[in-house]
């Protein structure tokens, strides 16, 4: 059976990784290429690169970096950030991305998921959703979690899956940064609604949070995190060993 995936997410601005600390054996912590290779060697199952660049120069730098990463790291690469058109898909896929993650772009242009899935296949289109509870209901937020779109999150996700989204990243704004564990209630609701892979994001603070995630919700396929990996609070090798000890199928 498929192994549960552990996915570090790297935010890249102007060609450099935004946050991180120095690990042993890693010379330049803000080099996306060095960090990608380090994570791949540690057993990361996939990498997500999030382009938070605003300028056109930065964007060109990002694709250049992506090309170098794809020449050196041979695990699946997902790219997100600033994906608004099918041309944006084309731009990053040509540089070696395997999957493309859409978020606000899909909200602004509801045809984007369908257009991209038709051209590149469902497996290529990842829908990333920022979700927050409003009056006890799951709502989709846009612009990095700042704006309530008033869209019902479950309806939005089901709709996008029907249009061809092949994977869902569920980012809970309610648990993000709190480091008290993933949002199991929200993830359960998404798992019950769709049959495509679901990736949990937001809330992981320690190894046990991942164990709890996969034990409680067997329908979740992967756990994604950023700062706890970058700051060394959780080492991927230790994490996977612990998951294995708890009977969770991982690639060691």
């Amino acid at each position: 059976m498929n192994a549960k995936r552990i996915i570090p997410c790297l935010d890249v601005r102007d060609g450099r990784v935004v946050k991180g600390v120095n690990f042993e054996g890693l010379s330049d912590v803000s080099s996306p290429i060095d960090l990608a290779r380090y994570y791949s060697d540690c057993g990361a199952d996939e990498l997500v690169f999030y382009d938070i660049t605003a300028s056109a120069e930065g964007r060109a730098l990002f694709t250049d970096i992506l090309t170098q990463v794809a020449s050196n790291v041979f695990i699946p690469l997902t790219v997100g950030g600033g994906i608004n058109t099918v041309e944006d898909f084309d731009r990053v896929l040509k540089c070696g991305a395997d999957k493309v993650s859409v978020n606000s772009g899909a909200i602004r242009n509801p045809d984007l998921v369908a257009q991209a899935a038709k051209r590149y296949g469902d497996q290529c289109v990842v829908l990333s959703v920022d979700i927050k509870r409003v009056d006890g209901r799951f709502k989709v937020f846009a612009k990095g979690g700042r704006e309530n779109t008033d869209l019902d999150a479950i309806e939005w996700i089901v709709n996008c899956v029907n249009n061809g989204a092949g994977e869902i990243v569920v980012n809970s704004i309610d648990t993000d940064g709190v480091k008290q564990g993933f949002d199991l209630e929200m993830l359960d609701a998404v798992c019950n609604a769709v049959k495509v892979p679901v990736i949990a994001s937001g809330g992981a603070g320690k190894i046990d949070d991942f164990t709890e995630l996969f034990k409680t919700l067997p329908g979740v396929d992967a756990g994604l995190a950023a700062s706890i990996f970058h700051f060394g609070e959780v080492k991927i090798k230790d994490l996977k060993r612990e998951l294995d000890k708890n009977g969770i199928n991982v690639r060691l």
Binding site: M1, N2, A3, R5, S40, D45, T67, A70, S71, N72, F74, I75, P76, L93, K94, C95, G96, D98, G121, D122, Q123, G166, E167, K195, V196, P197, D221, A222, R251
Partner: protein, 203 residues
């Protein structure tokens, strides 16, 4: 030189890079002479069977692939490229493949239990079915590789060399003489994948 056949389907950047990584020279090409002069051939592919088979035929490259395979040149199909090696594919209708291996490509949906997801996407284990094929000389039974597919090769007992368990055993790799194929993506399967490509380069 390894010719990675370019017939307009899929992203070949990682595949080319992975050969460079193991010290081999690979060219992404649709040039008939270049393919004929190559030491080995990779037939890649993503997308739908019928569409890809048509593109391969329309480009005339199907003949070069078949001739090369029949001449004894090592050929590896990857993902949809592996599926195209078979006689028939049943993705949105019935389509002819290259017929280099006997068997057919059918939906995973009809074989697996209902609780599982389609596509079969992610890291799964290889189970060797006929001992350790030369292609696996640098890896171990049970190693993980990366899959993305909704169809699989069936009725191919004579060529299957590895399966992967997804409630049922799905064909993961095939080989008959110089013709081989991987349903998974060796170029996305980390060191295990690179080790398989290296073994292919030594066939």
């Amino acid at each position: 030189m390894i010719a990675i056949i370019d017939y307009g389907v899929g992203n070949l950047f990682s595949l080319k890079s992975s050969f460079l990584k193991i010290g081999e020279i690979a060219e992404v090409t649709s040039n008939v002479e270049q393919i004929k002069n190559a030491d080995r051939i990779i037939l890649p592919g993503v997308g739908a069977f019928g569409d890809a088979a048509k593109k391969l035929r329309d480009s005339g490259l199907d003949k070069v692939v078949i001739e090369s395979a029949n001449s004894g040149k090592p050929l590896m199909g990857i993902c949809l490229g592996m599926q195209l090696l078979f006689e028939k594919g049943y993705e949105y209708g019935e389509h002819d493949g290259l017929g280099l291996l006997s068997g057919k490509v059918v939906p995973i949906q009809d074989a697996i239990t209902d609780d599982l997801k389609i596509p079969h996407i992610g890291w799964n284990r290889l189970d060797f079915t006929k001992g350790k094929d030369e292609l696996f000389k640098y890896i171990n039974d049970g190693d993980f590789v990366y899959f993305v597919h909704s169809y699989y090769a069936a009725d191919c007992e004579d060529s299957v060399i590895a399966t992967t368990e997804y409630s049922v055993d799905l064909t993961a790799a095939v080989r008959r003489g110089n013709v081989c194929g991987c349903q998974f993506h060796p170029e996305k399967s980390g060191d295990v994948g690179l080790a398989i490509l290296k073994a292919f380069c030594e066939l």
